[in-house]
């Protein structure tokens, strides 16, 4: 497919009287790892949430790998197409608390994509192995460390093989040595080729992981740093 993997134009979003995004324009090429940086409340997480179909907006268009969502009330079919294109890793992992790590990864394969169970489990094990947490496959989320939960959450998002992966503050729950490890994992994820958009305020991590860094301030994309 030609054109950028992600194209966001003129995105305005407010909640109540609060303007959160005020005209975001953003283009990400396939295979890029783009870091969105900015202070808390700058709007970077909201951009990810819009791309994941979790927020509606008043103005603008969003195009992710040809799945287009327009302003206004959410159209279920469009949102559903958008969600086929993106995977999201949440800041607090948001693993399904009642299921062991392996089932967290297989659940969508089994029930959304109707993958046969043996195949789904083999894929989940491969992903957990690739992320170095295969030995924790039977553990419940509450038994995992922050870093392990992070990796299981990445495996869960990758299970359905989305062309675009969104990550919100992925280093928030990691100690410093683990952050650089994660940076290399993130870079390897982009090799498929896959497009990654990462919201973070961790400069070292952004520098190590991203091919391009964008500053977000007051609900706008301010500048591009690096390449």
């Amino acid at each position: 497919m030609n054109g950028p993997a992600i194209a966001v134009r003129g995105l305005h979003l407010s909640r109540g009287t609060r303007q959160i995004l005020s005209g975001v324009d953003l283009e990400v090429t396939r295979g890029e790892v783009v870091a969105l940086m900015g202070a808390s409340g700058s709007g970077k997480t909201t951009i990810l949430r819009v791309l994941a179909g979790l927020e509606s907006f008043e103005q603008g268009t969003v195009d992710v790998e040809g799945a287009v969502v327009m302003q206004g009330p959410p159209a279920p079919e469009r949102i559903s197409r958008l969600r086929q294109k993106v995977g999201m890793v949440f800041q607090f992992h948001c693993l399904f608390e009642h299921l062991p790590a392996l089932q967290n990864v297989t659940l969508a394969l089994l029930h959304v994509h109707r993958t046969p169970r043996p195949e789904a489990e083999a894929r989940a094990r491969d992903l957990l192995a690739a992320l170095g947490v295969e030995h924790r496959a039977r553990a419940l989320p509450r038994e995992l460390s922050g870093g392990e939960a992070q990796r299981v959450a990445i495996a869960r998002a990758l299970a359905i093989d989305p062309p675009v992966l969104l990550m919100d503050e992925p280093t928030a729950s990691l100690d410093p040595s683990r952050r650089m490890e994660l940076a290399s994992v993130v870079r390897s994820l982009a090799e498929r080729p896959r497009t990654l958009l990462v919201a973070t305020h961790d400069e070292d991590f952004a520098a190590a992981a991203a091919t391009r860094v964008l500053q977000i301030r007051d609900g706008r994309v301010m500048s591009a740093v690096g390449s």
Partner: protein
């Protein structure tokens, strides 16, 4: 006559127990002055108090509890159409009989030719007042004739259920039956008496001396025509009474209850014999209790899930209707809801007693369950739901695969709690004539005149039902442990 004011200062009032719900002609609130009691038992109480040189003071006690209440000293004497039974003679100090009555069968006019005696009522339902000779007669007839005995807490609903067709006959004493005939036209009292007994006053077993004084006052009133005047005034004087008075005054030994042929029936049993005799009935009643509780809980859980889902996912009008339902069910007594279901809507829908009990408990508990599930659904973190949505799950899948299973684990402990509460609340359905464990225990206790053995057995049976349940719930909780985030 008696300077009552002076006497009242000299001697304490004579406390007497009765149940105004029994109504005329025994004890009832005066139609012209609800604060004043009238009835022949009220006048007999006045007669006794006067004879003792004291003033009467009324103590309200539910009919079935009068013996125990007198025994524990709430009142000195019980008077409220209290029957002369072998068990009562054994457990209490009873006065000489002061009125003779007959147990009579009342049927619908259309059944006048069909149901002439208890033997004609095989496979039929016959109602009466709990803790009476009539109920004991019906229990005996269950075994002998294969009818079904149903006990009521009052003497009005047996007749209304007879008119509605829920019963095929009512066995009660002629005083009650004849009173009912005055207000209804569709019923017939069959001629002939099923059994004969008397009304007596009851005293605590240790109060024999006062009872002897009262016996003397009653005999005097039989001789001088005072009792005749009282019974005539209340329209219950008949040819049986002079015969009774003659026997009492002659000091003849009077059997407490005799059947139509004059044979003494319902002989007193020892407490041990009575316990053995009641044990199967208590176990049967436990089965009713557990069955009713389980069925009600299953429906309550199913409805609770629907209501909770509606409140979490429904549109605004749906939510409003469900909130109204929950508030109505939680805000009004379950007893009232049971009455409405069984008696209130009987003109439109005639639910059988067990069905009304099952529905009533289920509809009430559904409101409580729904609140538990709503809370549990809302306790599942929003982040997990969003994560599921981004993975492509439909809202229904989010509920059934992620939110529901976690909510269920959170709800398990309060649900177990509710089930144990339901097990105990199921005792309320006895007002609909369902013979469950507590009701059966009450019948047992009334019959033997003590709560010690029946109460202990009843508690043991409830615990035998609730403890295993709590244990299972604890094990499930252990296994699942609620998420600690």
């Amino acid at each position: 006559m008696w300077p009552a004011g002076v006497l009242a200062q000299e001697r304490p009032p004579m406390r007497w127990a009765g149940d105004p719900e029994g109504g005329a002609p025994y004890v009832e609130a005066s139609p012209t002055d609800p604060d004043k009691l009238v009835g022949f038992d009220v006048e007999i109480a006045e007669l006794l108090a006067r004879g003792l040189g004291r003033v009467p003071q009324f103590v309200f006690v539910a009919f079935a509890q009068i013996d125990q209440s007198v025994a524990r000293g709430d009142a000195e004497v019980g008077l409220s159409g209290i029957e002369d039974t072998p068990a009562r003679r054994a457990a209490m100090a009873v006065t000489v009989p002061y009125y003779e009555f007959h147990e009579v069968l009342t049927v619908r006019n259309a059944d006048r030719e069909r149901f002439r005696s208890l033997a004609d009522l095989a496979g039929r339902r016959v109602g009466t007042l709990v803790g009476t000779i009539a109920y004991d007669l019906l229990l005996a007839a269950e075994k002998e004739h294969g009818l079904t005995a149903l006990s009521y807490d009052d003497d009005v609903h047996p007749f209304s259920d007879l008119e509605l067709g829920r019963l095929d006959a009512v066995l009660l004493d002629n005083v009650l039956a004849e009173r009912r005939m005055k207000t209804t036209s569709g019923l017939t009292i069959q001629p002939g008496s099923v059994a004969t007994s008397h009304y007596v006053g009851v005293f605590a077993p240790s109060n024999g001396a006062l009872r002897d004084e009262v016996d003397e006052i009653l005999r005097r009133a039989m001789r001088d025509g005072t009792l005749e005047r009282i019974f005539t005034k209340w329209g219950v004087w008949n040819d049986d009474q002079p015969r009774l008075f003659t026997s009492v005054l002659a000091g003849d030994p009077l059997p407490s209850v005799v059947d139509a042929t004059g044979r003494t029936i319902l002989a007193a049993e020892s407490r041990w014999e009575a316990t053995l005799a009641y044990l199967p009935a208590l176990l049967r009643a436990s089965v009713v209790t557990i069955l009713l509780s389980c069925l009600s809980m299953v429906l309550a859980v199913a409805l609770g899930v629907v209501i909770a889902s509606g409140r979490v996912y429904g549109s605004r009008p749906v939510r409003s209707v469900l909130v109204a339902y929950v508030e109505l069910m939680r805000g009004t007594p379950v007893l009232l809801q049971l009455f409405v279901l069984y008696y209130g809507i009987a003109a439109a829908v005639r639910l059988p007693a067990f069905a009304a009990a099952f529905l009533g408990l289920a509809l009430n508990y559904a409101a409580y369950e729904s609140e538990i599930y709503r809370g549990a659904l809302e306790a599942v973190s929003k982040g997990q739901l969003e994560a599921a949505r981004t993975l492509g799950f439909s809202e229904r899948q989010v509920l059934t695969l992620i939110r529901g299973p976690q909510a269920f684990r959170l709800a398990l402990a309060p649900m177990t709690n509710d089930f144990v509460a339901l097990l105990k609340d199921s005792s309320l359905v006895s007002v609909l004539t369902v013979m469950e464990l507590t009701k059966q225990t009450q019948v047992f206790a009334t019959n033997i005149g003590s709560w010690v053995i029946p109460g202990t057995l009843c508690a043991a049976l409830y615990l035998a039902m609730s403890l295993p349940l709590s244990a299972v719930a604890r094990r499930l909780e252990e296994r699942w442990k609620a998420p600690t985030v």
